[in-house]
Symmetry: C2
Subunit: 114 residues, 2 copies
DNA sequence: GTATTATACCTAGAAACTCGAGGTATGTCA
DNA sequence: TGACATACCTCGAGTTTCTAGGTATAATAC
């Protein structure tokens, strides 16, 4: 009932990688972006996000650097790597296959239209 | 990052309920049906399925009865209840919201087309 | 006839994923 | 100076799924 989770966590990691594909972001920002882009369907918790980021970094799917915010506070930005982009593509395809399969099963719920 | 899982397990239970909405089935058959309907994307394991069925029965979303197969073997059939159908509708909507949200985030991956 | 395979059910323990609840620290605003 | 928002982090627990077993019967192969 799974794909291969060797490198990645569940759908949360897919979403994180997807965000980073458009621009470098820091953790707090990702949570806000996910909330916004998903129209408040997702609200990822910090306890979920940070371990995922650390894991992706360990897998070299992302790199990180610190940068001072206009306010003077330090932020830790994440940048997606080539490998991360490849991973993202894989995960996207997995997601597509998965969602199509679920939809196919759900469509079968009603008696076949044939 | 979740909906409410008070009554149900994850997507596996949604799929099981969906199958039972079209006809009564026994465990082994459900595994085969899922494989077929999902075009081999899903292969639910018995260790996943049976606990889910027992749980759904405890929640009164399904009922079960034994019936002899043409071969003479006993099979345990499951039947979805009114409550199970309601649950299925809820879970379907949850799934729709979730998948749309994922797609929205993924669509944002590429720079906005605007 | 007997051994293997397919059918059919089940469970316990481990692994994976996410969350809740906490902690630390800095900047802003009243 | 006290409260709140920002920003990072971790530990332990809960949920979900899998692995790896177990039992038993019918069909098939030798």
């Amino acid at each position: 009932m799974k794909a291969d989770r060797s490198l990645l966590n569940g759908s949360a990691a897919l979403l994180v990688l997807s965000l980073l594909a458009s621009e470098d972001m820091y953790g707090y920002q990702m949570i806000a972006q996910l909330e916004e882009r998903s129209d408040h369907t997702f609200s990822m918790k910090e306890g979920t996000l940070y371990p995922i980021l650390h894991n992706l970094e360990k897998e070299k799917a992302v790199t990180s650097y610190e940068k001072e915010a206009p306010t003077g506070r330090m932020r830790k930005y994440y940048h997606i790597t080539k490998g991360g982009l490849r991973l993202l593509e894989d995960k996207k395809q997995e997601w597509t296959a998965f969602s199509q399969a679920v939809n196919a099963v759900l469509a079968g719920t009603a008696p076949a239209l044939a």
